[in-house]
């Protein structure tokens, strides 16, 4: 008798719980708003724009999800694989876009919504990076671009008897070989300070100035073993490491921040978006000590992203509209003013308001002009679909050289072998 009572009580409880469960489900979907999520990394400067978009589109609610850049891309890959969990709009960085281009069937072709009509907004190379199938498949709309300059410490240059004016510093290093010579001079005068933060970024900057890197533009074949440019870039960067002129730091890591604060290196390759990172790392005490000038070898591009729409989302059309709004010239201009992220659209980066912009922290450097001028003539290096697998292998090889674990030639040979394994 007692037992039967317990049973029926339990049964009642189950029914009640189930009813409650149902009730919860139906009330959540009853407010009628379309919820869009947008997956980002670092600072895209979208906060204000999103607020405005929500105000003008009452039926849309937007949620930003931010993670660290590398994690963002790994996570995205697993979400695409699992068929769920990805945001309605996802940002994809330039170094990773080729890899996702290869999985384009997981994404919405934005051309279906008329994205091709927007083509003329962007610098041609930026638009092309975001498309595939000879431009028929629009994978992503371009956000910012990196461009490339070199940041240097004025006080450390002065101590080493080098010029400090940015135009004269630019004259010191028309080529990377000249840059290495300046490094020698600098090290001779001030042996306790490293000339550059890491060999890795010098390598990247040199390699990104060539049209082809690890993969052939024509057929995406692995050509690092035949491409002399790769070896040259590696050797030039490795030499700095062998001579112990690099601080051997992991870029943008905690140690890198500490080194910035301690002033333990004098130059670093700097795309537009890294100015904010340097400022944050070096802190207010170093205001005016850092400056920006042009990079050896004639500019280049590092970074910049795209907004893409994964197929698994329920609101592709609305997502596209939002992505279009966030990447529009008006939005890009505002983002530049608010965060310094460089626009990827000629009509914006040539806008007098943009070119006249200076950066107070970097000794009032005319950043709009320095970063904007090279964008027009830019020939971005071709990124193969397996670029993001090969790059780290060469980076760790340079690290081994910097750590004195291996001579450059040996490190390069090992990297080449590992790269061949990675693309197999």
């Amino acid at each position: 008798m007692r037992r039967r009572l317990v049973c029926s009580a339990a049964a009642t409880l189950v029914v009640v719980l189930a009813a409650a469960g149902c009730g919860g489900g139906s009330s959540a979907s009853s407010d009628g708003k379309i919820k869009l999520s947008i997956g980002l990394f670092s600072d895209f400067g979208y906060d204000n724009l999103i607020k405005e978009y929500q105000a003008s589109h009452q039926n849309i609610e937007i949620e930003q999800r931010k993670v660290k850049m590398e994690q963002h891309h790994t996570q995205l890959a697993t979400q695409l694989a699992g068929g769920r969990g990805a945001a309605d709009i996802v940002a994809i960085e330039e170094g990773n876009i080729a890899q996702f281009r290869a999985s384009k069937d997981k994404f919405v072709n934005l051309a279906d919504f008329g994205a091709k009509d927007l083509k003329s907004q962007w610098a041609a190379w930026k638009w092309n990076q975001g498309t595939t199938d000879n431009g028929d498949f629009v994978l992503g709309l371009g956000t910012d671009m990196g461009s490339l300059g070199v940041c240097y410490r004025r006080d450390l240059f002065e101590a080493a008897g080098l010029p400090t004016d940015r135009a004269e510093v630019a004259k010191l290093w028309p080529t990377w070989a000249d840059y290495a010579k300046v490094s020698d001079q600098f090290t001779q005068k001030t042996p306790n300070v490293k000339f550059v933060d890491t060999a890795r970024n010098v390598y990247k900057a040199i390699l990104d100035q060539t049209e082809e890197g690890y993969f052939a533009k024509a057929d995406d074949a692995f050509i690092a073993d035949k491409n002399d440019k790769v070896k040259q870039a590696f050797d030039q960067a490795a030499e700095l490491g062998t001579k112990k002129q690099t601080a051997a730091l992991e870029p943008f890591s905690q140690d890198w921040n500490v080194a910035l604060k301690q002033g333990s290196f004098a130059t670093t390759t700097c795309p537009a978006w890294s100015l904010a990172l340097i400022k944050a790392g070096a802190g207010d005490a170093a205001a005016g000590k850092w400056d920006v000038t042009t990079a050896p070898g004639g500019g280049g591009n590092w970074g910049g992203s795209f907004l893409a729409v994964p197929k698994q989302g329920a609101h592709a059309k609305e997502a596209y509209e939002l992505a279009k709004f966030l990447t529009s010239p008006e939005s890009q201009k505002r983002i530049f003013k608010e965060t310094g992220n460089l626009p990827s659209q000629p009509q914006v980066y040539k806008d007098t308001e943009v070119t006249a912009t200076t950066n107070e922290y970097f000794n009032k450097a005319p950043v709009g002009q320095i970063f904007g001028t090279s964008a027009d003539s830019l020939k971005p290096t071709y990124r193969g679909s397996k670029d993001s697998k090969v790059t780290p292998v060469f980076n760790t090889a340079l690290q081994r050289v910097e750590q004195g674990k291996q001579p450059a030639a040996e490190a390069y040979a090992q990297a080449l072998k590992e790269a061949q394994d990675a693309v197999k």
Binding site: Q71, T74, A81, E250, Q262, R400
Partner: protein
């Protein structure tokens, strides 16, 4: 048996009413099936989150499987044969075992000593006992972050302290032995207290009269510890050895976060000098998207742990029967 009994019941004269018979049967079912019903949730959950992934991983490991694009064709044991001739796999296995030995042996010895201290009549006993568990409560990411700074090459405290006694700065991430020591210290810091508490619990159930009679016989503290305490808590020691082995061979978070490349780019140092098996699995599966190969590594790891667990079990039984 049941059938005949049921029949006998049915054949019995209709003196007993239908209701008690019904209750009887219920009670029997209750006794028979309720225990299974109560443990069923565990097996259902295990089936979904344990067994199914295990079998699915086995299935994936037999294929060329791209993480995003899925199945690319059946390979049979192809992934496994490749794995056995993969120097990076053996390197990772070596690192895993080295890190396991370096962290587990001193850890368990330290835990034993710590437990012996805690077992004595200390003041504020609860405080000390809770204190040793504290490192275990802190998130591993936070621990790794702090240790990574302590072991910083240029501005780390450890190098600073070593500098005071004239040791030149060590690049803790570059050298194999240095990185293994640093990571082991992280693991030890996290788990020593936890194991000490397990030992302490076991020590408290050792009958006190054994110590008294040993003292009467004039045995030293050291002698009583090794001849009475340690043998008495042997089952617990074996338990911690087994669990530490399982955890140790799956070491991932500490070394991965010790690499400045972090979870996204870290491969355990510039020459994989501290890349463990699980880190290699993660690199292959989630960065190079080779899920099939990654699954094969997972299964090799599983087999390795299973073999070591069986060895441990045998050893435990032998020692227990000797005792």
């Amino acid at each position: 048996m049941t059938v005949t009994r049921d029949r006998a019941e049915a054949a019995a004269p209709a003196v007993a009413s239908a209701a008690p018979r019904h209750q009887n049967r219920l009670a029997r079912w209750d006794g028979k099936y309720t225990p299974y019903l109560i443990i069923a949730p565990f097996f259902v959950v295990f089936g979904i989150f344990g067994l199914y992934p295990l079998l699915f991983t086995a299935w994936v490991s037999l294929h060329e499987w791209h993480l995003v694009d899925g199945d690319q064709g059946f390979l049979g044991l192809g992934n496994y044969t490749e794995l056995l001739s993969d120097s990076k796999f053996w390197n990772a296995l070596g690192n895993t075992i080295s890190l396991f030995v370096l962290s587990t042996v001193p850890q368990l010895l330290a835990a034993l000593g710590l437990a012996a201290l805690l077992d004595r009549g200390l003041r504020a006993r609860a405080f000390w006992r809770a204190g040793v568990l504290l490192p275990n409560v802190i998130s591993v990411a936070a621990v790794a972050l702090v240790f990574a700074q302590l072991y910083g090459r240029d501005f780390g405290i450890v190098n600073h302290l070593l500098g005071l006694v004239g040791v030149s700065p060590i690049d803790w991430r570059a050298e194999t032995w240095a990185s293994h020591l640093a990571i082991s210290s992280m693991v030890m810091w996290r788990w020593t207290g936890y194991n000490a508490l397990l030992y302490l619990a076991a020590m408290q159930s050792v009958p006190k009269d054994m110590y008294e009679s040993a003292m009467l016989d004039g045995a030293s503290r050291w002698r009583t510890f090794w001849s009475i305490t340690v043998p008495s808590i042997r089952p617990t020691i074996m338990f911690t050895v087994v669990t530490s082995t399982i955890f140790g061979l799956q070491l991932f978070a500490e070394p991965q976060l010790f690499d400045p490349g972090g979870t996204a780019l870290g491969t355990g140092g510039s020459d994989r000098q501290f890349q463990t098996l699980v880190m290699y699995l993660y690199e292959k599966g989630f960065r190079l998207f080779d899920a099939g190969y990654s699954a094969a590594i997972a299964w090799m790891l599983f087999l390795l742990i299973a073999v070591i667990a069986v060895l441990n079990f045998r050893l435990t039984r032998r020692i227990a029967s000797k005792g």
